[in-house]
C-alpha cells in the first residue's frame, strides 16, 4: 500500500498547477519528463488495483499482452505532436492526458511487465527504440514547427533528446544480448 500511496502522491504533485506550468513550458520536459513521470506514478499506484481487483487482472491480463498493448497505444498516442498541442490548448485533453497516462498506461504497465516473457519485453524495448529514433530523426529534420506551442529550437532539442533515449535503449538491448548473465549469476 505504501507503494500505491507514493504513486498517488507523485500524481498529485505532478497535477499541481505550478508544477504543470513549469514542466509543460519546455517541450522535451513535457514529453520526456512529465509524461514518463505520470506513467511511473500510475505504475506505482497499480499495486492498489492489483490488491483490490486480482481477478479482474487475472481474467483480462493473464499473459500481460492486453495490458502492454494498451500501454503502447497510450504512449504512442502521446508522442504525436498534435496531441501535445491539444493538451496545452484544451483543458479537457489535458485532463485526458493525465488520466490516460496514469490509469491506462502506468497501471497496466505495472501489471503486465512481470507477466511478459523475455521476447515480449525485448519487443517492447525494440518498439520504443524505433519510435524514439524515428521521432529524433523527424524532429531534427523537419524545418517547420510541428507544435504551435513550442519553438523550432524546442523541437530540435526534443529530437536530440529522443534520439539519445533511443540510443540508450539500444545500448541496453545490446548489453543484454551480448552479455551472458549465466557466466556471472
Amino acid at each position: 500500500m505504501k507503494q500505491s500511496l507514493i504513486g498517488l502522491l507523485l500524481f498529485i504533485v505532478l497535477s499541481l498547477p505550478p508544477v504543470v506550468t513549469l514542466l509543460e513550458s519546455i517541450m522535451i520536459i513535457h514529453m520526456h519528463m512529465q509524461m514518463p513521470l505520470l506513467v511511473i506514478a500510475g505504475a506505482l499506484f497499480g499495486r492498489y488495483f492489483q490488491i483490490h481487483f486480482p481477478h479482474f487482472w487475472e481474467k483480462w491480463n493473464g499473459n500481460g499482452i492486453p495490458g502492454i498493448t494498451l500501454f503502447v497505444i497510450i504512449a504512442v498516442y502521446w508522442s504525436i505532436p498534435r496531441t501535445m498541442d491539444d493538451a496545452l490548448t484544451y483543458p479537457s485533453v489535458e485532463v485526458f492526458k493525465f488520466m490516460s497516462l496514469f490509469l491506462l498506461a502506468g497501471v497496466p504497465l505495472y501489471d503486465s511487465w512481470k507477466r511478459l516473457n523475455v521476447t515480449l519485453k525485448n519487443s517492447v524495448f525494440i518498439l520504443f527504440t524505433i519510435l524514439f529514433l524515428s521521432m529524433g530523426w523527424l524532429y531534427l529534420n523537419v524545418t517547420q514547427q510541428l507544435c504551435n506551442n513550442y519553438l523550432l529550437i524546442d523541437q530540435i532539442t526534443l529530437g536530440w533528446g529522443s534520439a539519445a533515449m533511443g540510443v540508450c535503449i539500444a545500448i541496453y538491448l545490446l548489453y543484454t544480448t551480448f552479455t551472458d548473465p549465466s557466466q556471472y549469476e
Partner: protein, 559 residues
C-alpha cells in the same frame, strides 16, 4: 621442484593475506606521487595565501595565477587521482584475491601516461604559459601542450578504470551469484564515474587543442564550460565517494564495530553514481544562456545528491552509537566517550564527517539560485571547497594512510606515529577552521575569488576584508605545518617504520543483516540509467549552445 613448491606456497600465503608484492608496489607508487604532490601543492598554497593577504610579495618570475594554477592542478588533480587509484587498487587486490597480471600492466601503463601527461601540463605552468587555473575555462588559453598533458592524464585514468573493470569481471566469473565484496563495489562505482565523468572533459580538451594551436579561430565558451563542469562536478563526487567508502567499510572496523546495512550501502553507491553527472549544472547556476526554468529543474538534480548523503550521515552515526553502546556506553550520549578518539585512523575520518555536515549545508546554499548569487565567485566558494575536499575528503585520506601505507609497505603503525597523526589532525582542523571559516565569511562581505592582492584603490570595503585575509594566512601557516607532518608520517610509514603485518581493516556485516538482492550487481543497468539521466540533463543547454551559438571567442591571455 622445491623452488616451485616454495613459490606456490608464497603465492598462496600472499593470496590469503590479500597482499601481493607487485600489487603493493603499484599502490605504493601511486601514494608516493600523491604525497609529493601534497607537499608541493601545500607549499604553493602557503605562498598564495600569504600573497593574497598582502603579507608576501611574490618574486617577479612567479605570478599569483601561476601559483594558483599549480596549487589546483597538484592538489585537486594529482593528489586526489593518484590517491584514489592507489587506495582502490590496494583494496581490489585485497578483496578480489590479487590483481591479474594484465591489470597490473594496465595500472603501470596508466601510471606512466599520467606522469608523462603531468610533465606535459606542468612545464607550460612553470613557463607561465598556462596560468589558466585548474578549471582552464576558455576563452583563457594556455599553451596547447598543457591540454595535451591533460589528455594523457585522462587516458591514464581510463586505463586504470578498465583494469579495475577487468579484475571485477574476472572475480565475478569465478564467484558466480555472489555479491562483489563491498570495498570492490565502491571501487567499481568510482571507476565508472571516473570513466564516464572524464568523457565530457576529453571532448572539451579536443575542442580546445586545435583552438590553442590556432588551427581554428574561435571556441564555443559556454559549451566548453558545460563540458568542464560535467566532469568537474563528477570529480568532486569521486573524491567524496572515495571518502565515503572508508566511512562505510573501514571506520566501523577501526572502532571495533560492524558495517551498516549492506543493501543500503550499495544503494548509496548506485544513487551517487547514477545521479551524479547532471548535477554539474549547479556550478553554472548564474551562467548566461541557460533559461531559468532549466536551472530550476536542475536544482532538484543537485539536491537529490544530498539524499544519499543524508542516508550516509544516519548510517554512520548509527554505527557509532551501536558500537559505543556495545562497549558499555550508557545514557543519551555516553556511547560517544567509548569511541577511540586517540586513534588517528578514527579521529581523522570522524572530523572529516563532521566537516561534511558544514560542507554539505554550504553546498545546498550554493545550489540555490538566490543564495548562489550572494556568494558566487566570492571567497565563500574557496572556503566551501576547502571544507569539503580540503577537510572532509583529505582528512579521510590522511586517516586512511595510517593503515594503508604500513599495509602496502609491510610495516606497522607505531604509537609515536599515531600520536603524530592525532596532532596533525588537530593542527589541520584548527588551520582549516581559521582558513575556510574566514574564507566563507569574507566571501559574504564580497571579497572575490581568483584575484591577487589588491586594495581597489584603498577602498574602505576592500580594506575591511584584510583582517580576514590575515586569518586565512594564519590558517595557511598552520596547514603547511599539517602538510609537513603528514608527508613525514607517510614517508616514515613507507620506508622507516618497523617491519610487520598490518591489517586491511574491512568491517564485517551486521550479524542479522538482511539479504542483499542481486540486482545491485547489475552495473550494466545502472550505467544505462545514468546515460539516460545525463542525456536528459544536458540535451537542452547543449542543443541551445550549439544551435544558437555565438561566433565564439579567440584565445585570450589575461596574465
Amino acid at each position: 621442484m622445491e623452488t616451485a613448491l616454495k613459490e606456490s606456497y608464497i603465492q598462496k600465503v600472499n593470496r590469503y593475506m590479500g597482499l601481493q608484492r607487485e600489487d603493493a608496489r603499484i599502490s605504493k607508487s601511486y601514494l608516493f606521487v600523491a604525497f609529493v604532490a601534497l607537499l608541493l601543492g601545500g607549499i604553493l598554497g602557503l605562498l598564495q595565501g600569504l600573497n593574497r593577504a598582502g603579507m608576501l610579495e611574490l618574486p617577479y618570475w612567479l605570478n599569483y595565477y601561476q601559483v594558483l594554477t599549480a596549487h589546483g592542478v597538484l592538489l585537486v588533480l594529482v593528489l586526489t587521482a593518484f590517491f584514489t587509484i592507489g587506495y582502490f587498487y590496494a583494496g581490489l587486490s585485497h578483496t578480489l584475491g590479487g590483481l591479474l597480471p594484465k591489470v597490473r600492466k594496465m595500472a603501470w601503463i596508466g601510471f606512466s601516461l599520467k606522469i608523462v601527461g603531468f610533465v606535459f601540463a606542468v612545464i607550460p605552468i612553470l613557463l607561465n604559459q598556462a596560468s589558466v587555473l585548474y578549471t582552464f575555462y576558455p576563452p583563457m588559453a594556455a599553451s596547447p601542450y598543457f591540454y595535451i598533458g591533460l589528455v594523457l592524464i585522462v587516458l591514464g585514468v581510463w586505463m586504470c578504470a578498465f583494469g579495475a573493470f577487468i579484475n571485477v569481471a574476472h572475480w565475478r566469473k569465478n564467484n558466480r551469484g555472489q555479491n562483489l565484496p563491498i570495498f570492490s563495489f565502491f571501487a567499481t562505482g568510482v571507476f565508472v564515474l571516473l570513466f564516464f565523468g572524464s568523457i565530457p572533459v576529453a571532448i572539451e580538451v579536443f575542442m580546445i587543442i586545435p583552438w590553442a594551436f590556432g588551427w581554428v579561430e574561435t571556441i564555443n565558451v559556454m559549451l566548453s564550460r558545460t563540458l568542464f563542469w560535467a566532469f568537474g562536478h563528477t570529480l568532486v563526487n569521486i573524491w567524496y565517494l572515495t571518502a565515503v567508502s572508508a566511512w562505510y567499510v573501514i571506520v566501523p572496523k577501526v572502532i571495533g564495530g560492524r558495517r551498516f546495512s549492506d543493501t543500503l550501502t550499495r544503494i548509496v553507491v548506485i544513487l551517487l553514481v547514477v545521479m551524479n553527472i547532471p548535477g554539474g549544472f549547479h556550478h553554472q547556476i548564474v551562467d548566461p544562456g541557460i533559461s531559468q526554468e532549466v536551472k530550476f529543474l536542475h536544482v532538484f538534480m543537485s539536491l537529490s545528491i544530498a539524499f544519499p548523503s543524508l542516508m550516509t550521515a544516519y548510517a554512520m552515526f548509527s554505527v557509532f552509537e551501536r558500537t559505543g553502546r556495545k562497549q558499555g556506553g550508557k545514557g543519551l550520549l555516553g556511547w560517544y566517550k567509548k569511541l577511540p578518539w586517540g586513534d588517528v585512523r578514527f579521529l581523522a575520518p570522524m572530523i572529516a564527517m563532521i566537516a561534511f555536515i558544514v560542507g554539505g549545508a554550504g553546498g545546498i546554499v550554493q545550489s540555490t539560485n538566490q543564495l548562489n548569487q550572494v556568494v558566487h565567485n566570492t571567497m565563500w566558494i574557496v572556503g566551501h571547497f576547502h571544507i569539503t575536499v580540503g577537510t572532509s575528503v583529505i582528512l579521510t585520506f590522511f586517516g586512511i594512510t595510517y593503515w594503508l601505507v604500513p599495509y602496502i609497505s609491510n610495516r606497522t603503525l607505531t604509537p609515536k606515529i599515531n600520536r603524530l597523526g592525532v596532532i596533525q589532525t588537530f593542527i589541520w582542523t584548527v588551520g582549516m577552521l581559521f582558513m575556510a571559516g574566514s574564507m566563507h565569511y569574507v566571501g559574504l562581505l564580497g571579497a572575490p575569488r581568483r584575484t591577487s592582492y589588491t586594495t581597489y584603490g584603498e577602498s574602505a570595503t576592500a580594506m575591511g576584508w584584510d583582517p580576514f585575509m590575515i586569518l586565512i594566512a594564519i590558517g595557511g601557516v598552520l596547514l603547511i605545518v599539517g602538510v609537513l607532518l603528514q608527508v613525514y608520517a607517510v614517508f616514515h610509514l613507507m620506508f622507516r617504520a618497523p617491519k610487520g603485518k598490518t591489517e586491511f581493516p574491512i568491517a564485517e556485516r551486521e550479524e542479522h543483516d538482511t539479504y542483499t538482492p542481486y540486482w545491485t550487481e547489475r552495473w550494466g543497468n545502472w550505467i544505462v540509467i545514468m546515460l539516460l539521466l545525463i542525456a536528459m540533463g544536458y540535451v537542452i543547454p547543449i542543443v541551445d549552445f550549439t544551435i544558437n551559438a555565438p561566433p565564439g571567442s579567440p584565445p585570450i591571455k589575461t596574465w
